[in-house]
């Protein structure tokens, strides 16, 4: 029985047709059965006003349709209206995801089933979907552009090179020119070939990891063993990991100096179905055709993922575990709607830096011995400790097995190799992998291979999201130095230095061999992001001495030559210890690459973490993680990107008495109705804003805690834990707080937009009384359509953050202080405190599209500013921006910041002058106490040309906010956001 609405009848008929096919046609029927039995689930479809209500249920191979959605439906899809419902059947799956993002379609309940349902729709209309996507791609009109005014980007022109003096005490061998200006990419044909592959080969979805793991779990059990006894999650994961490492294909990539791969493809996409892997289910037919970051997928992989992998994980992933275990908590429903916060913990808990020196020093065998010694010495160890340590041992045995397999493979490849030079390289690799990572390293070749093979292991256990490499220059320098000391001839030494550059180049290219799985919705949320494997250079040693060394400059040379987005290179500049020569080189590399490295003011970053009272030698060993966030290397799980937090949402909710306009949801506390004159003073309004912030912080932290619990149950990380100080001694997994130091880091987004909006309200509503708060609210509701006077006034006369206005800086400090203090009151699942960061990945664009007009005059849907960068029109004078940002209180920004500056070298100035100017900005910013800074050295004209002629700019790299991306791969909103950023000549 159902209501007689026409749309309702049409929906019913469409679902009936679907059900008929599944019930009677073998081509469809076969998709109902999987290695885990029949797919049993139900999907409810309804419109917000209720004129449509239908339910389709899949039960033991039979499909039925009814006009009523039962209370226990697995997944409910609520459409804004019938037109959006029609879109479901006619739009490609990636566009359907966009409807969810824009809150026109709300999915309640299990999100995996929604993806499965999308996959089923694709079965019927994939031909049409693919055609539409191809047409979209063809119709993607380039923006018009005046090519006459194009200034060539520095990346396009031949690099100019300064020479450096050897003034850094740690530079022992690059004495004549630490900048290595004598080398360019032309000297490294091997790297050039890898770059060509990187930019031309389409990534492929790889089923190796999920298939080996899923089969193992299906056979040996997940929650319980075959006899129904509960399994210890640590042991279960460890045994599965070992099985994976023993059985995955050992691959030596053609021409490479480093053995091992993360996937079986040249460039592969790793699938983690226990985190967000199933989110690609609905796109399995169409993902090669999507416009942004298309992935190839073979028929075999698609069938395997659908029949043998994904069904096992429909409820065994972090999100759905929380939903089932904690009964659909509010904090999760808010996250599902994307507009107020986004918890990265739904995908990963990584974002950390492991103890690499220990790996290099001890090898896997040595680590196992250490664990055995702990087991033997702690007679009071509880069973969890024993199991956890045993789990770690399994994992390192898995690593040893993979290393041996690689050694064997290199030997086999060498036998077949006809080119004598390559044959000798392969034999060398075979010897290296026969020794490491099992045993301690003695040479740079061994150390780099050991780190990479271990890095493969890390990514077989952990989602490739922000897992970072840390202080590679520090940890590799001893091996570089020891190798060189053994070489006496000048010519031989030079050849070795060139080899070291090539080796590190190969390492960078290895790091880019895998991509994170990004469902198309992610292209809008985190456009163009790689897995952001941060490397950190320079700074000071744990003892506090100047840490810049030969390897620092070798890494910088490689960064400059390759110009690739991943690894994400960060540099610590310690103004008390590091040389100006070093800072100048950082600036030169930034000019030559257009966007990297990001520069951190070392002493200020360390000062920002004062409240934690970390031992100084731990603090001095910090490195950037993912984007910019500090982690204490080897002993700290700081999940520094646990969430992207939209501060602007709290402002909107304060304006609308707890209602979030885009979500059409009265979700927040009732803090006062503007129309009944609730806020007599500015502080009253500010208080309402804070109350909404509290509400959002409480909920996001609550969800983070539940997800932390989910990680500990579904995917403890014994492999990672073996290289995090504290886990072995405590006998606790890193997901359960085993690390010596624990914290969670947030990224608070929209600081400039919130500050400017509050300044506008304060000035025009309260101080000057030029407008009432009611009128301001009305103007926001109409996107300023009815009030151009007010729009003009707030746009031009608000004292903006970044304009050199003291009150605005004070306001920004008041906001960061509040957010920091309140987050600081929360404790995460692992027992750690929260830190507050002010950077945004690319969520300043995504959250911006989900936000209405603001009192600052920013119109609905427009991006926020990146990180905490001032508004583009705040000042024509870059120095105002620099001064204001440097005056923010670092103590309130202990998860770091992203301050983006776009500069354009003028044609008449020399390379040296451009570097000098950027150096002066960076140096002064550091002197003034600024925390972090990153330059985009590219003009808007170039970016426009790149939009019009992407084929000419495949390697044009830009800094989004904390991470790098290739401009031509970004969604249009993000491309425009970059173009509209303030541009300063240098």
């Amino acid at each position: 029985m159902f209501k007689g609405d026409l749309a309702n009848i049409a929906t019913h008929m469409a679902l009936q047709a679907m059900a008929f096919s599944f019930n009677h046609l073998p081509g469809f029927m076969k998709y109902l059965s999987t290695d885990d039995g029949e797919l049993n689930f139900s999907i409810g479809l309804r419109t917000e006003n209720g004129n449509v209500e239908q339910c389709i249920s899949f039960l033991e191979g039979k499909v039925g349709v009814s006009g009523k959605i039962p209370a226990d439906v697995d997944t409910e899809m609520v459409f804004l209206d019938t037109s959006i419902l029609k879109d479901l059947a006619s739009l490609p799956p990636n566009e359907v995801l966009n409807l969810i993002l824009k809150n026109k379609l709300i999915v309640k309940g299990n999100l995996v089933y929604a993806q499965l349902f999308n996959f089923f729709i694709s079965l019927f209309v994939k031909g049409k979907q693919i055609k539409m996507m191809q047409k979209q791609a063809a119709e993607h009109m380039p923006v018009s552009c005046d090519t006459a005014s194009i200034i060539p980007s520095p990346a396009k022109s031949v690099n100019k090179q300064l020479k450096g003096e050897a003034v850094d005490p740690g530079v022992l061998f690059l004495k004549d020119d630490p900048y290595l200006s004598r080398y360019s990419l032309e000297d490294f044909p091997r790297l050039r070939r890898f770059l060509d592959i990187h930019f031309t080969v389409k990534p492929v979805i790889c089923h190796e990891r999920p298939l080996l793991l899923t089969r193992w779990f299906r056979k040996n059990g997940f929650e319980t063993d075959k006899n129904g006894n509960p399994l210890v999650p640590e042991l279960r994961q460890a045994e599965a990991f070992k099985h994976l490492m023993e059985n995955r294909k050992p691959i030596i990539r053609k021409d490479d100096l480093i053995a091992g791969t993360t996937t079986t493809h040249e460039i592969g996409v790793v699938i983690y179905p226990d985190s967000h892997g199933t989110m690609i289910w609905g796109e399995l037919f169409t993902t090669p055709y999507r416009q942004l970051f298309p992935y190839d997928i073979s028929d075999e992989t698609r069938e395997i993922l659908h029949h043998s992998v994904f069904p096992f994980w429909t409820r065994r992933n972090f999100k759905e575990w929380v939903r089932d275990t904690h009964k659909k908590p509010l904090c999760q429903s808010m996250d599902d709607r994307f507009a107020v916060y986004f918890l990265w913990k739904t995908a990963a808990l990584s974002h950390t830096i492991l103890d690499y020196p220990k790996l290099l020093r001890l090898g896997a065998k040595g680590i196992i011995s250490e664990i055995r010694a702990e087991l033997a010495s702690d007679v009071h160890a509880d069973s969890l400790k024993k199991d956890t340590l045993q789990a770690m041992i399994h994992c390192y045995e898995g690593l040893i097995a993979y290393g041996r397999n690689l050694s064997e493979q290199a030997g086999t490849d060498a036998e077949k190799e006809t080119d004598p030079a390559r044959k000798s390289e392969l034999l060398h690799l075979s010897r290296i992998c026969g020794k490491v990572p099992e045993n301690p390293c003695t040479t740079l070749d061994e150390a780099v291979n050991a780190i990479w093979i271990h890095w493969v292991g890390v990514h077989m256990e952990n989602t490739n999201a922000g897992f970072s490499l840390g202080r590679m220059d520090q940890w590799l320098q001893p091996y570089f130095a020891s190798d060189l000391e053994k070489i006496k001839g000048e010519k031989e030494r030079e050849a070795y230095i060139k080899h070291a550059v090539e080796l590190i180049g190969c390492f960078y290219m290895r790091c880019t061999d895998h991509l994170p799985l990004i469902p198309d919705i992610g292209n809008y949320l985190f456009g163009g992001s790689s897995s952001d494997q941060a490397i950190t250079l320079g700074g000071v040693t744990p003892e506090g001495e100047d840490a810049v060394n030969d390897m620092t400059y070798i890494f910088l040379k490689v960064t400059e030559m390759l110009k690739i987005r991943d690894p994400n290179v960060n540099a610590r500049y310690n103004r008390e210890k590091n040389s100006e020569t070093y800072l100048r080189r950082l600036c030169e590399v930034n000019v030559n690459t257009t966007s990297t490295p990001s520069i951190h003011n070392d002493t200020v970053v360390m000062a920002s973490l004062e409240e934690f009272n970390y031992p100084p030698e731990h603090l001095r060993d910090w490195a950037a993680t993912g984007c910019v966030e500090p982690t204490l290397s080897g002993k700290h799980i700081g999940h520094t990107n646990c969430m992207m937090f939209n501060m602007v949402a709290a402002l909107e909710m304060a304006m609308f008495n707890g209602r979030h306009p885009l979500m059409r949801w009265d979700v927040g506390p009732k803090t006062g109705d503007i129309d009944t004159g609730s806020f007599p003073s500015f502080d009253d309004f500010f208080h309402a804003f804070c109350t909404q912030l509290d509400f959002l912080m409480n909920n996001s932290c609550e969800y983070n805690k539940l997800l932390g619990e989910a990680h500990s149950v579904l995917r403890p990380t014994p492999y990672m834990s073996g290289l995090v100080e504290g886990c072995i001694a405590k006998g606790r997994d890193a997901t359960k707080g085993g690390a010596l130091h624990n914290s969670s880091g947030t990224a608070c987004i929209g600081l400039a937009d919130v500050t400017d909006s509050l300044m506008a309200i304060k000035k025009f509503v309260y101080d000057e009384k030029k407008v009432s708060l009611q009128d301001m609210k009305k103007a926001l509701e109409t996107n300023f359509a009815g009030n151009t006077y007010l729009h003009s006034l707030v746009l031009h006369k608000t004292p903006l953050f970044g304009s050199g206005n003291n009150d605005a800086v004070e306001m920004a400090n008041r906001i960061t202080g509040y957010v920091h203090d309140r987050f600081g009151e929360h404790i995460n699942f692992r027992g750690g405190k929260y830190t507050a960061g002010f950077w945004s990945m690319s969520n300043h664009v995504a959250f911006g599209t989900l936000t209405g007009a603001l009192p600052s005059g920013r119109l609905a849907g427009k991006p926020f500013t990146p990180g905490l960068t001032p508004e583009a029109h705040a000042s024509r004078n870059l120095l105002d921006n620099i001064r204001d940002v440097s005056r923010l209180n670092p103590g309130s920004m202990n998860n770091n910041i992203a301050f983006n500056v776009k500069v354009v070298p003028s044609q008449k100035e020399s390379h040296k002058e451009a570097v000098d100017h950027i150096y002066s900005y960076a140096k002064t910013y550091s002197d003034l106490g600024g925390m972090q800074m990153q330059f985009n050295v590219v003009s808007s004209a170039t970016l426009r040309d790149a939009m019009a002629h992407p084929e000419n700019y495949r390697d044009l790299m830009v800094r989004i906010s904390g991470y790098n991306a290739y401009f031509v791969t970004l969604n249009r909103d993000m491309q425009m956001e970059l173009i509209e950023r303030a541009e300063f000549g240098v």
């Binding site: 050199g804 120095l879 002066s920 900005y921």
Partner: protein
């Protein structure tokens, strides 16, 4: 016109139309440029028409006007009228600036403000760390900064006391003795404009004789050589006026005679034309056709070649 709108010759304040930070084109390093308002010359093509008069003015940018009428409501002199093409009746306007305060979008704005020495130093000192990192400093420009000789002298002395680098851009029409005693000792670098060599032509296009300008340059050149200071002659290239072969040859000959080996040629751009409207000024430039276009690079190269013939680069 009230006395607070015109300069009274005081050494403690000067009429300034912009203090521009982060300039990379007005001397070495990162510089803060102080643009003084008022100039003894009246060059036809002046790139900063707002700098010519030594008095406060009001500017109206119709592109920025949203037509809200807030300004008309506050004007006591009935000087504003939507139907008047220039919008402002500059005869009736008493420069009270109520309208510029009321304007929400910055379409109406005051041009020029009197700044006290301490006030100006305060703005400059904010940039001190940038000067230090870049070996930059302040540049006095205009308009003509030597119109405010007493003020400029005190400003330069204060800057020197703080270790700030100093540079002056001048048209050269100043009292030499006074310049040497009050400005010269506190200057690191001088940029000196030489526009037209022929005196009659100079009168015609720049509104005054150039005799003193050339004489001052020659004498200053000797002083600078002795003191080891940079004196850089600069020639604004204006097609058909300064950028003629005849004029450039004459200038080159003059410079060569003084032993000068370096010159800076400033490429012409027509951006100043759009500024005229906002100030309610008309230009004779419309009568000289090619001033509305950007200068072509080959022409600039030709000009350079003239000087290279004299071994001046």
């Amino acid at each position: 016109m009230g006395s607070d709108k015109q300069h009274d010759g005081s050494e403690n304040k000067a009429l300034v139309f912009e203090v521009k930070g982060n300039s990379l084109d007005d001397g070495p390093g990162i510089r803060t440029v102080v643009f003084f308002k008022g100039c003894p010359l009246d060059c036809l093509w002046c790139h900063n028409p707002e700098s010519k008069k030594a008095e406060v003015e009001i500017s109206f940018d119709k592109e920025k006007c949203i037509g809200c009428g807030s300004c008309i409501a506050v004007c006591t002199e009935k000087a504003l009228d939507k139907d008047r093409p220039s919008f402002i009746d500059r005869q009736a306007c008493n420069l009270c600036m109520k309208c510029t305060d009321a304007c929400p979008g910055g379409a109406l704005s005051p041009v020029g403000r009197f700044m006290r020495l301490d006030e100006l130093m305060g703005e400059i000192e904010k940039d001190l760390p940038f000067f230090q990192a870049s070996q930059g400093g302040i540049t006095l420009s205009g308009g003509e900064p030597t119109l405010y000789m007493g003020f400029a002298s005190l400003l330069l002395q204060k800057a020197k006391a703080k270790g700030i680098g100093t540079l002056l851009e001048t048209c050269g029409l100043f009292d030499y003795e006074r310049f040497i005693t009050s400005l010269f000792p506190y200057l690191d670098i001088i940029y000196y404009d030489i526009k037209i060599f022929d005196e009659e032509e100079h009168r015609r296009f720049c509104g005054a004789s150039n005799a003193r300008i050339l004489k001052n340059f020659a004498e200053l050149n000797t002083m600078c050589i002795e003191a080891g200071k940079e004196l850089r002659p600069r020639i604004p290239l204006v097609p058909g006026i300064t950028a003629t072969r005849k004029n450039l040859l004459a200038v080159a000959h003059f410079l060569k005679g003084l032993g000068v080996t370096k010159v800076e040629l400033l490429q012409y751009n027509p951006l100043w034309l759009s500024k005229l409207d906002t100030l309610g000024q008309n230009s004779e430039a419309s009568r000289i056709g090619n001033l509305e276009d950007w200068m072509a690079m080959p022409l600039v190269e030709e000009c350079k070649a003239v000087f290279e013939g004299f071994e001046i680069r």
